[in-house]
Amino acid sequence: MMSTPLFLGALAEVYAERTGMMVCAIEGIFLVGAWGGFIGTYITSSLWIGLLLAMVFGMAMAAIYGVVTVYMKQQQVVTGTALNILAAGICAYFQRVLFGVPTTPLQIDTLPKVAIPILSQIPYIGPIFFCQNILTYLAYVLIPLAGFVLFKTSLGLTLRSTGENPEAVDVAGINVNRIRFFTVLVAGAISGLAGSFYTVGYLGMFTTGIIGGRGWIAFAICFLGNWNPKGVVFGTLAFGFADAIAIYIQSVSGSTIFPNELVIALPYILTIVLTISRKNFNVPAKLGVPYTKES
């Protein structure tokens, strides 16, 4: 299920943006996650170490992002762009340092698909939803969990208040910047895992163009999903559906006559159309605004 990384990435964004932090480095975090998953698995031939490394790399990028945007209070969009370039450079460069120029593409085994007993036997739905790899199941668990944490716990209230009214949170004796920084770290870990889906979970190899803008789509889904885990589900399914249509049209008509570039552009067009048409956005009030304590 190709929607898994989008689910995870958008969810990470929801957490972070609820506290007022846009993680504009998400494209780069996806990439280092994909790369971390790949080299971890390739070197140790253990998929678990691969996934762990993906999380660590994702958190490392998020940590740089957090330090610069939360503590140094610099522009989030700009910092994100810098980190995206940096991520591309790091992955391409160290891939070369580690492996030179291989004559055949390096391959790793991908995560096995685990069929859940009973559930996977349901006709139609079973094989689609319950015969997936572990990352997809993780997404199933994390999405309702996010809904619960954000809206039913005091931690969630703190997180949301940090994005809406940081002064109030500060007055309540909670360190705003620390909350934001750690949320970004968590978002980095989740996004790193999301990125690793492309290498460890799906392709079994790494190229520098492997993410190709999908981090941005996850970013967009968070917006379209109205900063809500439920919205993320609908948003991701809409994108997954568009993708499926694209693949279907391509397979039916062949690529010669029908402009399959239109199909490639469809998710991006969809994003713009939805961004324009949605009216009742519930933007966290302090999204993208650094918090400075009055002294």
Partner: protein, 354 residues
Amino acid sequence: MKGKFNVLFYNVGAVAVGLIISASMLLFMRINPLTVGGEAIRKIFMDHYTTGEILVKATPLIFTSLAFAFTYKANLFNIGAQGQFYAGSIAAVSLSLLLGESLPTALVILIVLIGSFAAGAAVGGLIGLAKAKFHANEFLVSMMSTYIVKALMDYLLRTGLQETKAEYLQTNAISINAYLPNIVPGTRIHLGFALAIVTAILVWVLLYKTPLGFRIRAVGYNRNASELGGIRSGKIYVISFFIAGGLAGMAGLTEVNGVQHMLLQDFNSSIGSFGIGIAILANGNPIGCIFASILFGFLNVMGTTMGRLPGLSIPASIIDLIEGIVMICVIASYFVRRAVQNNIEKKHVKKAGV
């Protein structure tokens, strides 16, 4: 004036720190960065052609960085310069192929200039419109527009614009008549570089010496206050995105008519994001964009030259690494500068208190 000098000082320091960090990355390949760097610099300046490449590479970067800097002054983020550049390139190559043979060079260049500006500006203007009319997030829309324009370009390269041999995804070469004339013999430096400098100066004049520029900056500083002052911010959004898009589109002219003489797939695929870095390095100042672009042009040539040094196989991707690190250092330096200034001010306040 002192403030400007201060920024420059911190920026130069940040770039130096960034370069030192990136140079130490070479140690991972068991290469001595000093000897390799020295060798590369010697190679670049020994050879006029390669020295000229710095300015050739800097030319489109000046335009894309201006495209970001311009909207940045209105506190908008135009991160779609890449797409606007592609739109400009499509216009430039179509017009050059169509008119290149029949009209005199000066006229062709003028038409292509207007065409590429208009194409980029159309893309930019639509983003501005989405922001002004529908309160869409301009950051997201401009990001997405890049992918859409790129898909459009791929489509055209596969169909209407593809070369007559139909072998590669590229157009026919444009007629020599439509080339931007070379201005320094022995190099590839073309008229586009001069155009870029003139444009940057014009943008500076527009931003700082005209009523429109004042309005744009006013909206950037405080949108609500300028609304109260009678400035319609929606209109300013559209105008500034329109102009920014046009500026990025002009890079299409300089690259198609000045360097490649055709349009290829994935053409100059990172000038958009580098433009953002350059604009930040220049603190959004159009004149600063010229110098920062030349610096990035130099880094670019440095990267490829190091890659070509025999027996070392340094990957060309080191350019991304260097530029990413330099950008982070520059961003961090803004924080350091602020902190240092605050400290100095605090000391003054304390002294005054005693």
